[in-house]
């Protein structure tokens, strides 16, 4: 495969992972594991898809995805932040809810609509064929990396997020409302999860199918661990992962004598290997997964 198209598809395939994993990073830095990201992405993808099918406006589609992500995040905020339910289980609950809900709504509303006209490819002069020709959401996804780093490291909100994820008791003693900061971080993370779904349904693929996320949400959670809870580390993980995805597509297209089902396993095996062999991170938020009680 020409290197050019390999790199182009790597950037394109990185888009949903970037939104999802950066949003998850924010929540996890505040101490909340959102395992329901997969379900959030599904509902976001469907909301964007249906909105664009009705209105023809990708911009409105994005708004719908953000709202859907926020609604899904609200469930997690209620269950795991306010009521302090076990985060691993509530996340699986959120996943199953999103999977079921998007399936029901798609079957009962979309009717015969199969594809939509989503974000167009933008041709950008002077940057070359690898960087030009993506849709707006891809460019925004990469801009989000420094933005998230700035939010976490240079703003008061970012400091509060890290404080409640590291030592909520101390943060509480300093007058920070742990619940408020965690709720905000999860809400923003959920909205990015919805956007991640939209980047598939109204940009990368321009279609909706039941269960279309196919595990990308869970992989995004794993990429946050891999990236050491740091936006630039997450970017590295996403690019590595997206390039393996691009490679696997190429194996299928080039009709190499490797069964496509086995090629499809590659990204998941790689994720497992990387989680096992990456050096133990000291950056894991100390209170990750733990409910806060005074």
């Amino acid at each position: 495969m020409p290197l050019e198209s390999f790199l182009f598809s790597t950037l394109r395939l990185a888009t949903p992972y970037l939104y999802a994993a950066l949003g998850e990073t924010l929540g996890q830095r505040a101490g909340v594991l959102n395992l329901g990201l997969e379900g959030t992405m599904l509902v976001g993808a469907l909301a964007a898809f249906l909105t664009v099918a009705r209105t023809g406006s990708p911009g409105l589609g994005v708004l719908a995805a953000l709202a859907a992500g926020l609604a899904m995040a609200s469930i997690l905020i209620l269950v795991s932040v306010v009521l302090k339910g076990e985060q691993g289980i509530s996340g699986i609950g959120l996943y199953l809810f999103g999977l079921g809900l998007s399936g029901v709504l798609y079957r009962m509303t979309a009717g015969g609509v199969r594809t939509v006209e989503g974000f167009p490819a933008l041709s950008i002069p002077l940057v070359g064929p690898i960087l030009s020709g993506h849709h707006l959401l891809t460019y925004l996804a990469f801009l989000l990396v420094p933005l998230m780093a700035w939010l976490l490291n240079r703003t008061r909100f970012g400091l509060e997020v890290k404080a409640v994820g590291q030592n909520p008791q101390a943060a509480d003693a300093m007058g920070i409302s742990v619940l408020r900061v965690r709720a905000l971080a999860v809400a923003l993370g959920g909205m990015l999860g919805g956007l991640a779904g939209a980047s598939l349904s109204i940009a990368n693929l321009d279609l909706f199918q039941e269960d279309m996320i196919g595990g990308k949400g869970f992989i995004a959670v794993a990429l946050v661990y891999f990236g050491g809870w740091n936006p630039y580390g997450v970017l590295g993980g996403v690019l590595l992962f997206a390039s393996v995805n691009a490679l696997q597509l190429w194996i299928q297209v080039a009709r190499l004598p490797i069964p496509s089902d086995l090629a499809l396993m590659l990204p998941y095996l790689l994720t497992i290997a990387v989680m096992a062999l990456a050096p133990r991170r000291k950056t894991e938020p100390a209170a990750l997964g733990r409910a806060f009680d005074r």
Partner: protein
Amino acid sequence: MRRVDLLPTVVALGGALLLGALLLVALGVNPLQAYGVMLAGALGSVQGLAQTGSKSIPLVLVGLGIIIAFQARIFNIGAEGQMMVGALAGTALALALPSAPGPLLLPLVLAAGVAAGALWAGFAGFLKARFGVNEILSTVMLNQVALYLMQFLLSGPLLDPAELASGTRIAQSASLPPQVWLPRLIPRTTLHVGFLLLPVLAAAVYFLLKRTTLGFELRAVGQSPEAARYAGIRVGTRLVLAMVLSGALAGLAGVVEVTGLHHRSLEGMTGNAGFAGIVAALLGRLDPRWLIPAGLLFAALLVGADKMQRSLQVPASLALALQGLILCFLVSAEAWERRRRAA
């Protein structure tokens, strides 16, 4: 085990059904009619009751494994994949020895399923014990790997020669030799003798957790790995063992579905029981004594949802959404109860 408080179970089921009713109203379906169809479909006939009983088999088997792993605070999300590899291993063995006598072949086939599930889960346990890999994430990844492995085997090496000959190439294996089919408990229904395994295994798991050193050690590891290590328990091997036992039961669930119900391997043969078994285990408050009633109740819900889809055209995905809501209600009610007890 202390006395079990079933309040969260009641709250969760009631809350989920209530929200489900709102969703039905929003979709323009009369919820009373829908739930009536569910109830009649699952419990209103011998066929329905038999289907509910047969649906509960994988839920309870998977649930028992979830309970064991959870003693050590391991959350095994991988039962879905462990069921698939169990079913495939049993299928491959049975098809390789089609003329072996049933009394010899059936135990071997079941053992192959158990071993495959145990290995698949044990790998995730090993990754956690040796490298500290979060088992939730590794088992989710292994689910996807098992799914592609199944698709590969069922459309290639294990593909039914009849499908190949007719050119339809539906991804499924050949029919298993009849001597490994589990007999039906009630003729002309789906309920098979695998159901009789449930009380036996539930009692065995109860005994294991309550009366044996291993059960005590698993709980010790779950409560505090550091303290357990200090007390001389080899924490790593206990984590792996918990996953191995958990996966063995899920593998058994897979191979029992194949020998008891489908009589072949095919896509979708797990019926999502790998996830639904988690819900059943939590509904039974992670207590083997309550798991069978919880499994039956939950199976009735799933069978009923299936009937609802057929007669009212409500997509069966609604059952998935309800499962998710049940989980959310369960953890909320449980956390609330924990704080109330602490106060």
